[in-house]
């Protein structure tokens, strides 16, 4: 208990600050992943000439480990395209890249699974394709796919532990740093693991509750 007070409670500021960085990285990455994933799905479905490009992008994102992507984005991209300029940006870019591949597949199956009649009846009312997508297709896809989309957020939060490897000061980074300073891994790493598990557990319970409600409403 003495060690716990000395090592964990004294450094609670650092740990909670790290938790805040984790939340920021995950949130930015997820929003970016939604946009990229939706764009990739649209290109994959509707832009004929770029279809294989989008397909390659999606498969590359899905089939590369997040750790490898992090190193790649952080150490290769700046020299090739002059961006990202900070490890924080590299962290959320890599996380977004990975998730956008999965989300693109989710969006694609959602759009393809939509009943043809929805689109046809919109066209018969004279709605142009873009308006049909925005008003008719997209709202239904987002609603139907919301459990899968939100589960991807859990994956982002869990993968975000790895941004500590490229020196983004998230919770895991501070936990490992404090372990090296105090040489008391038991307390620090256990508290860190508990914080992560609690966070993910709360999120997944919320998602499950939402999914059950959806199922009750739409069957």
């Amino acid at each position: 208990m003495d060690v716990f007070r000395r090592v964990v409670l004294n450094n609670l500021d650092a740990l909670l600050g790290g938790l805040w960085v984790t939340v920021q990285v995950s949130a930015i990455a997820f929003v970016l992943a939604l946009l990229l994933g939706f764009a990739a799905a649209l290109v994959r479905l509707y832009v004929r000439p770029a279809r294989y490009l989008a397909e390659t992008y999606i498969q590359f994102c899905r089939n590369t480990p997040i750790f490898v992507q992090l190193m790649w984005v952080a150490y290769v991209w700046p020299d090739v395209v002059g961006w990202p300029r900070s490890f924080f940006a590299a962290g959320f870019t890599a996380l977004a890249l990975q998730s956008s591949g999965y989300l693109a597949e989710t969006f694609r199956s959602g759009i393809q699974g939509m009943d043809r009649g929805q689109r046809e009846s919109a066209y018969s009312l004279g709605m142009p394709p873009l308006l049909t997508m925005r008003r008719i297709i997209l709202p239904q896809v987002l609603l139907l796919m919301s459990p899968a989309i939100m589960n991807q957020f859990l994956v982002v939060v869990k993968s975000s532990t790895l941004v500590s490897v490229i020196a983004v000061p998230d919770l895991m980074y501070h936990a490992l740093r404090l372990t090296r300073v105090w040489l008391e891994p038991i307390e620090i790493l256990s508290v860190t693991a508990f914080l992560y598990i609690a966070m993910v557990f709360v999120l997944s319970t919320l998602i499950k509750w939402h999914t059950d409600r959806m199922r009750a409403r739409f069957g």
Binding site: Q59, F60, R62, N63, T64, P65, F67, V68, Q69, M71, W72, A74, Y75, V76, P78, D79, V80, V81, G82, W83, R85, S86, F87, A90, V157, K158, S159, S160, T161, L162, S164, V165, M172, L176, T179, P185, I186, L189, S190, T192, A193, Y196, I197, V200, F201, S204
Partner: protein, 242 residues
């Protein structure tokens, strides 16, 4: 972060991204690293499938306590980030065991890696197996009972042979994810592919071609593995296995 050498797009750097000569000249050490990846994957997959199966039996058991333990196990390991669990198993678990057993316990990095990844993914395997078992119609169990088969016999002769076929595609998908996760074991100094790549980068000071080749290599392997799983799944479906 060091400032980039160029402000915008740089053609020379792009050429380096597709320069595989560094990777080729270090092929021996890199291949031995890849072998470590496959070894860790193999043992972790065995552990994950084995303990996943046991936990799945707990979760479909009649006893409420056993179900509770199974649910707790699954929720715990599915909600734990792999990297956090990996460091916990490597740095904390040996110390805890040392205090409990009053003998000095030390885990080799490879052992920690297999334990951590195996346990982490056993939660996913348990859920996959459980959906397979639950997908067998109730009538099959009742029919088994009607011919006086015991619970264990029904499980072994009627449920499992059908359930295994149904869950095989999803179990293979879990295995592909597990292989993808083995790239993080380099962070506790298991000499796998990424560990060797990072070492070579520090020696050669050439991050562009080396990290890019590593990414492309992982992509090639994982793409082929998941394509293989998909092809097998299609084949089993056309044979009306599922």
């Amino acid at each position: 972060m060091p400032p980039p050498t160029t402000a915008g797009f740089d053609f020379e750097s792009l050429r380096q991204v597709f320069d595989f000569s560094y990777f080729w000249s270090y092929r021996e050490v890199l291949l031995s690293g890849l072998l470590v990846n496959f070894l860790v994957f193999g043992f972790a997959a065995l552990l994950a499938a084995g303990s996943g199966f046991v936990v799945c039996l707990l979760r479909v058991s009649r006893s409420r306590a056993a179900r509770g333990i199974g649910t707790f196990y699954v929720e715990l390991f599915r909600n734990t980030p792999e990297y956090v669990f990996l460091t916990w198993v490597h740095f904390v678990l040996p110390l805890v065991l040392t205090r409990l057993l009053v003998t000095r316990v030390n885990f080799a990095p490879t052992l920690s890696a297999v334990l951590a990844l195996g346990l982490c993914y056993s939660g996913y395997f348990a859920e996959t197996f459980r959906t397979g078992i639950l997908s067998i119609p109730r009538g099959h169990i009742d029919a088994g009972r009607a011919v006086a088969m015991g619970r264990a016999l029904i499980m072994r002769r009627i449920i499992l042979p059908q359930a295994i076929r149904r869950v095989l595609p999803e179990a293979l998908n879990n295995s592909v994810s597990l292989f993808k996760a083995t790239s993080i074991v380099s962070l506790i100094a298991v000499p796998d592919l990424m560990y060797n790549v990072v070492n070579v980068v520090q020696y050669e000071m050439r991050p562009l071609p080396l990290y890019s080749s590593a990414a492309f290599l992982f992509f090639a392997i994982l793409f082929m593995l998941s394509a293989l799983v998909q092809a097998l799944t299609e084949r089993w479906r056309t044979r009306a296995w599922g």
